[in-house]
Subunit: 198 residues, 2 copies
Amino acid sequence: MAFSPALARLIDAFRVLPGVGAKSAQRMAFHLLQGERAGGAKLATALAEAVEHIQHCQRCRMFTESDYCEICRNERRDATRVCVVESPADVMALEQNTDFRGHYFVLMGRLSPIDGIGPEELGLNILRARLADGPVEELILAVGATVEGEATAQYVAELAERYGASVTRIAQGVPVGGELEYVDAGTLSQAFSGRRPL
Amino acid sequence: MAFSPALARLIDAFRVLPGVGAKSAQRMAFHLLQGERAGGAKLATALAEAVEHIQHCQRCRMFTESDYCEICRNERRDATRVCVVESPADVMALEQNTDFRGHYFVLMGRLSPIDGIGPEELGLNILRARLADGPVEELILAVGATVEGEATAQYVAELAERYGASVTRIAQGVPVGGELEYVDAGTLSQAFSGRRPL
């Protein structure tokens, strides 16, 4: 099927992207070659630069090409509030949808001893150093409500409390706009027991 | 939202791909940075090389990094049979699913005067030169059964007949595995009037 070795290599290389199989990879390659060569060249440059230069922020583990990410370097942000999330995508989502202007700490995963992911792999030694170092007044847990997320939340909460930070967790309950009838049993039971005075 | 200018550039660059919006672009960028840096670097290289070197075959207009594509250069293929298709993806599909071992001619589009796409834009002067040049015994039309595809087929057929090639067209009818009940009216009427003796 190799009409052109360069084309075959390009189609094959596209399959590294999440959710991209043989058909989509071919479609992407032809799309770029047919009318988006400038865009393709731009993507090649951005990609080469990103995989070479983007590392983890030494303070919060977010992606950055500097030693510290823009949030950690921004002195107008409140360093006494640290929001702990599982992934860089979570940081993006919170920045876009909340007015939180503190700092983050990105675990890049969650505790999963069965996969060999312990506190070390999640950079919790860095978080510990930070808790020891400066005053963290509130540590906000914004990890997923999965089994591993719960275990991670528990672990981080104990760590933070040891250093005198007060720990909060983002609310669990019925999604906004959700009809009770279609909410799953676990969420409904959580939401009911977590009811609050109006 | 720029935590890292390099990351912002990468996410933006991914949006050139077909069907990739802001969310998918972000997912692709994080996926590569989190665990597929080698694959990302390979993609960057393949892409840079492809947009720089891949051109159209001078004989059939298929993508190739040489002057002539591998099919046109392959002397074991039958140059007296030329299959005319709309796009490089059609060549791939026919190669994968048929035993056709002749040559191709890729229009890279179809006649559409309203969009300024005439015979010149489809490289029909190249096809004409080829018909004049060597003996083409059978010209197979494998263009889509759309209005513009029909117009294109008509035009190419007349051109080929002028040079003495016999013209065939791939069959239209009920798809294999299709139930009559769910076949659209146009296809069913075509299939019925195009019935063949068993």
